[in-house]
Amino acid sequence: VVWIYHKSQKADEYLREIKEQGLLAEAVRQCVEAAGHEQEAETQKTLLRVKPLVCTSIKNLAHSLFSLSISVSAASFGKCFLSNFPPELFVIMCRDLRVLNAVRDYTVGIPLTHTQFKQMTVQVLIDRLVYRKLYPLAIEICRYLKTPEYQGVSRVLKHWACCKVQQKEESDEVIARTISLKLGEAAGISYSEIATKAYECGRTELAIKLLEFEPRSGEQVPLLLKMKRSQLALSKAIESGDTDLVYTVVTYLKNEMNRGDFFMTLRNQPVALSLYRQFCKHQEQDTLKDLFNQDDDHQELGNFYVKASYKEKRLEARVAHLQSAVDEYNKAKNEFAAKTTEEEMRLLRFQKKLEEEKGESLVGFSLHDTLRTLLAVGLHKHAEQLYKDFKVPDKRFWWLKLTALAEKEDWEELEKFAKSKKSPIGYLPFVEVCVKHHNKYEAKKYVSRVTPEQKVKAHLAVGDMEGAADAAIERRNEGEISTILSRCSPTTDRALVERLNRAKSTAAKK
């Protein structure tokens, strides 16, 4: 086939012959391949030219053959290829050859054959060039072959930078600047890897400078830790917003530093501190206490002791914890909490004493629940005492006693209680509670004592429609009259309904 190129008369004949045998495509492929195995650049060209030539010849078999053989241009190649011969093979071969020729150059001196090249892949070739520190050539090749930046140019640049940091004669400043200039914004560059290299060469300062260029703060942390720049690592970790990373650093610091320094470091980093507190809450209660102590956070310390107190079973231990809490709350100037905690201690002692005397289980109840229990078992005197000692609001005590007595259905005692003095909660609750316990008879006793505003409600509660109507009509309250009317059923006395309707219309007129 090569003969075709030699402008001989016979060429055309050969060509026809090959074509007739249907071997044209195969012939072209062989030529392209042969070019690959050829070392000499000129011969490669010759072989490669065959292809476009042949292609053209199919269309203009005879006459265009010679004129076209003079120059081979990409354009003509594209226009007229063999009906279905894939152009890729040709293009790839051209590119490969250019690369091979470049590395075969005596200044480089890698005499690779095409087969070897295909076997070892571009990646490896680049690596070899990098090892020989032929960075510019490697970058050129990457760009020429359009290797993705991440695997190509960036990788070479990283190697270059790693090599650069080993140059002892240059100052940290200069190297850092040169590297950042050259690397710029190249994709996939990991400054932390370069910095690691610098650190391995014993240039810690340079490493720190280089880390400054790392856009992802998370990447900086492991190396900073390795270089024992733990404070810096902590702030970088926090900056990254990755709490896991923060936690990694915190654990590291915990093991590295003495406790005092560790706490001081945390104190300046609220995010880290809150994380560590979380951990301590589950794992190390005592550390938590130390942390609060360090900060003189008396409020939190007080809370801590309160929490500790209700984990204790024994009364003495409980009270002791509460006493500590009181002290802390006082230091925190939280009078309210201090006072309440003191009361709690008093309550606990009271409960304990009563528990021993009466065998009622009381310890740990709230004041309200204690009172309720006492009233329920009929220890009225003790309840009264508690009520006075702890300045329980009258309303609460009345509600408590009312419900307790009603629950026991101790109606006699309830009546006595109601008459003991003027009820601070009024008498409607008496009516309602009795009704709730299905005792309308008792409920009615209190209706008369209910204030005028609540009378209608009270009458309705005991089911006394007449009484409700009287009260409402007396008060000329339209809303109340309507409420009663809505409760009337077909069985209700007709006269009553009429009376209500009349009253309603007069009330409405006003």
């Binding site: 709490t243 896991d244 609220p270 589950h282 794992q283 929490k307 309440t340 609001p393």
Partner: protein
Amino acid sequence: MYVIQAAAVRGRCAGCLMAQSGRRDAPELPDFSLLKRLARDQLIYLLEQQHEVDKLYKVELKPIVSTADQLCFLIRPRIQTVKWISDVVNLDKAAGRLRRYKIIFTPQKFYACEAVLEEQGVFGDVTCDEWAFYLLPLDDDIISLELPEFFRENFLEGDQRWVGAAGGALRLIHSLYGPFSKVYGIGQCAKMVYESWREQVEDGEQKTQQPEIGNVFLIDRDVDFITPLCSQVVYEGLVDDIFRIKCGSVEFGPEVTSSDKSIKVMLNSQDKVFNEIRNEHFSNVFGFLSQKARNLQTAYDKRRGMDIQQMKAFVSEELKGLKQEHRLLSLHIGASECIMKKKTKQDFQELLKTEHSLLEGFEVRECVSFIEEHINRQISMIDSLRLLCLLSLTENGLLPKDYRSLKAQYLQSYGIEHLLTFSNLKQMGLLVEQQPGETLTVMESKVGKLVNDKTAGKLTDAFSSLAKKSNFRALSKRLVLIPKSGEEYDLRVPRDMAYIFSGAYVPLSCKLIEQVLERDGWTGLEEITRMLNGHEFAVSGGANGTESRIKADSQRIVLVMFLGGCTYSEISALRFLGRERGYKFIVVTTAITNSGRLLEALLDNHP
């Protein structure tokens, strides 16, 4: 009476249909079942590496009785759970038992957990894996991260470890249904989640695809605490308040099923009956259900006078559907009856009245005495706390006198442990004392300036309650959150989002979303954001901003991400807003919350 209601219900349905037909082009929601499939496949892959899973156990922090020679734990990365596993391993070791252990953390592993394994000396005995299950679709338009602890850890304890997970969830949605063309947000956490997401997107590869979700709105729970603290009166919210919906399903007890068994029901749009009443104010629900019951009866009655052929067709085609509907209908009627029993009582009406007065700032002294009585009578631990917080939030703190006395009474009722609860509530700014001289008028005059009252000495206190002023009164005036009182509000034909609270209050969170979408940003809302402590942002263009303009439909799909949880009432409000404005909202939340869950997360009364 029924007839009137039924007619009204029909009117309402026609209204709905009209709203829908007016927006015939309302965009379709993306298909979220893909999320489930992806997660399931990954879990199967992880489990296939184990052989023969023999039984699944619930992690109950109890000793394990099993003869299997390998144990696999699928857990959240919680220190307590990991500690329990360490104990299991150590117990086995002490008993001379050889087993293999594997922990699968979901959605991710935390270094703190590994540190626990290491400290307990079992790090070498256990292998760890991660199951990146971030998002659980609860319904067509609700996706949950199912991270209830997010709220307490992030807002109370200042632990930001879940921010990355929230960012990861957003990244997942972005990669499947994005790119987003606009991201709005408010709140510190929202900002951090946004940044975390941006970072993760930059690290990963970018795909170009047709966007299905155009806009994203991130909002912190602490921007609006008032809304989740109000009693819910919309059906779905009520069911959640009373029966507690878990992962989109609810267990109805014997009082609902009127048998001796409990029944678990999935509550989502597949349930035809539920789907029609979930967003309704409770006062409409009964009317609707009775109408539905009568329709059902008519459908059953068709059987009469059928010949054999017709009967056969009826049985094979319709009967099953009718039976199904019958079953659901009787359940929802049962639930409604149960709700009625609890909620139409006098005290609930008074509770609602107090809440509304607080929101309006009307007769506050009476509210205080109501709360006092509520505490004194030990009516409900959580409800009392809720009222206290509402009082504090709406009034910018309690008067010093009230603050002390109400707290003291609460402690008398429920025990001293609640000192810690109060300390937490104070830190969150939920229950605070009014600062002397900081009356309402002074506050309002200060609005021009930064609200942070950085008096000397308080500066260091990062969690100072001062910086967390709620400014509710001023906010509600500017955003018109409280409709004019005195006007009749027809709950069957809602005018605005206030219907979810009987027309008494437009939820702040949803109002903000409405305003920002309307204005395409925060312009004109500067004063509002200042009162909400800032941290607002609006960023155009996700990965490929310019391209995503092409698909207009996606622009009307808005993903709202609640950091710290959202309530069913808020979801109902957003659905209403969507119908009105032609949007479709997708709610992504760290968990579904309500007043009970929110406050329980802040209790500290158990060791």
